[in-house]
Amino acid sequence: MVKLKVKNVNFNYASVPILKDVCIELDRSEMLGVVGPNGAGKSTLLRCIDRILSPQEGCILLDGRDIKDMHLMDLAKKMAYIPQSATHVFPATVFDTVLMGRRPHVGWRSSEEDLEKVLDTLQMMHIEDLAMRDINEVSGGQQQKIFIACALAQEPDVLLLDEPTSNLDIRHQLEVLDIIKYIVVERGISAIMAIHDLNLAARYADRILMMNGGHIYAAGVPSSVLTPENINHAYGVEVEVINHNGRLYVLPLRPVVKR
């Protein structure tokens, strides 16, 4: 059954159209990569899906229910959104930060069970050694892992990630995406990640959505979307797509000279 359905969504910022007639269907245990040049509407799309922004037209259905009709807390139990690097974060221990992910599930007091779940998540992300450190004292890569841990403690069915690897070195990039992929498969959740790195998108996403100027320009399995023609059209960059040991690699050659 379709987990998440985005139907004909249009979104304008002060009458400037950002999203134009976007339609997506997402299954359980599926990881969707959203790629596209800067300003293509990737982040706006994720924000609309999590009701942080309200689209002027169209609707988003989670398990067949319009998210507009859902209580905010109920939506938060099912969907988690991790913004692109958080701006200024209040000082808090890593443990407390991850504990915040339990907010939709509990009232005022955090129970023993919540503490256990925080510990599980910390261990899964291999950041248990940071538990009592302050979030502002750890590296950018570790912070990113902490925010993902917080979202995982939320136990969502749908995980929305905006550039989860933007602050990370290549080792952390692979570690973080491996964990997300593992959770998607293991817990049967769905994930949508906006990502700039086409090679990571090709490697981890089951399907790829290429956006350009608020439209969905191409969608499908990585090999059908990440073609030199599509990339040339959307990004204006000449590339070579290499198949190495069954994996796609996008090798940028040069920007296309605009006529």
């Binding site: 009701r51 109920d74 958080a86 443990f95 907010r103 503490l115 302050d134 917080c150």
Partner: protein, 359 residues
């Protein structure tokens, strides 16, 4: 990643982290208990000190007897009608201002937010000065100044809320609007003061720096009600404020209605501030400094920060008033001067010796 020496991987570590976390929570509770103890000690000392000579033993006998009969002798009147209301007012005002400051700093994610910087104190001062110098106000009689100050102190909040209907209520907009309002009301106050008679000016001045000298048993009841009624919903919302510390988008994704929470907390904190300053005048610095000091000691978790900074603020104001009454006795300084003179350097000292980022 180096793992420690336990046999089953992870189990020992889990227990260790959990123990650390429990200890971390325990420290916060100990600090809160310590503040309660501190209040009792300072209040106990404050009751015995003053320009009228009464021995320590006498004071406590009088307090004990006063529980069962009305004060008659001069000594009894001094203790029951002058010192005790003043002590209780210091506790209530310190707690309320510190809690209001904690919440404002939390929802606006700004270390400078306090009842002062949001224009609440300045507008309350303007209302009071109108009443004191021009004799004009919403009601007549002995509560003219109090009611005027209360009504005026709510103006900045409503202006900020009105503004947020047209512009999005971001923390930055709210703070800038508050500061703008603070300057406008300060200027208006100075304008009136400029033309005032010397005697009225002195009274207005006393109000502007804040003092606990006018506290009476009659005033304590409304202040207590305001404090209790406002603190309960603030405590209830404390986890949401914590979540908002991670940023508005993340908070929304965690199911918190960020805009509504921010506005509701803003209104409650303003009411709390207004309910206090209308009786005491604009006592500065408690609302700014008490939350910071507590944040440095116990961390930023608002669930613990509300009781901690409330109790610390109470102890702090009580101590400042004690100093204000005794340092150059028989002259009693306005407590607002002492809070700033002690709170400022104290905050500075903590800033210098802190080991990690607290904001």
């Amino acid at each position: 990643m180096t793992s420690s020496t336990e046999t089953i991987p992870g189990t020992g570590k889990r227990a260790k982290i959990k123990a650390q976390y429990k200890k971390f929570i325990g420290r916060k509770i100990i600090f809160i208990l310590f503040c309660i103890l501190l209040i009792f000690i300072i209040a106990g000392v404050a009751a015995t000190l003053g320009s009228f000579p009464i021995t320590v033993a006498e004071v406590y006998t009088i307090i004990w007897q006063g529980l069962f009969q009305n004060p008659e002798t001069t000594k009894e009147v001094v203790v029951w009608n002058l010192r005790l209301p003043r002590i209780f007012m210091a506790i209530l005002a310190g707690a309320g201002l510190a809690i209001a400051g904690t919440m404002m700093q939390g929802i606006l994610r700004n270390p400078l937010a306090s009842p002062f910087t949001l224009g609440i104190s300045a507008s309350a001062g303007f209302g009071a000065v109108i009443a004191i110098i021009l004799g004009a106000g919403f009601i007549s009689g002995e509560y003219l100044v109090v009611v005027n100050a209360f009504v005026f102190s709510l103006i900045p909040t409503f202006v900020i809320l009105g503004l947020s209907r047209y512009k999005s209520a971001t923390p930055e907009t709210m703070i800038l609007a508050g500061i703008a309002m603070m300057y406008v009301f300060s200027a208006l106050t100075q304008l009136i003061n400029y033309f005032a008679e010397a005697e009225a000016l002195k009274e207005a001045y006393f109000w502007m720096v804040g003092s606990l000298g006018r506290a009476s048993w009659d005033d304590l009841l409304p202040v207590t009600i305001v404090l209790v009624v406002c603190t309960i919903p603030l405590m209830w919302k404390s986890w949401d404020v914590n979540v908002m510390g991670a940023g508005d988008e993340r908070a929304k994704s965690l199911g918190v209605n960020v805009t509504r929470t921010r506005i509701v907390i803003m209104i409650i904190s303003s009411l709390l501030t207004a309910g206090i300053v209308c009786f005491t005048g604009t006592i500065g610095f408690v609302g700014l400094v008490a939350p910071h000091i507590c944040r440095m000691i116990i961390g930023g978790d608002v669930r613990f920060l509300i009781p901690a900074s409330g109790l610390f603020g109470a102890a702090f104001l009580l101590a400042c008033d004690l100093i204000a009454r005794t340092i150059i006795a028989p002259i009693i300084l306005p407590v607002g001067i002492v809070t700033a003179l002690i709170g400022g350097p104290f905050l500075f000292f903590l800033l210098l010796r802190r080991r990690k980022e607290f904001w």
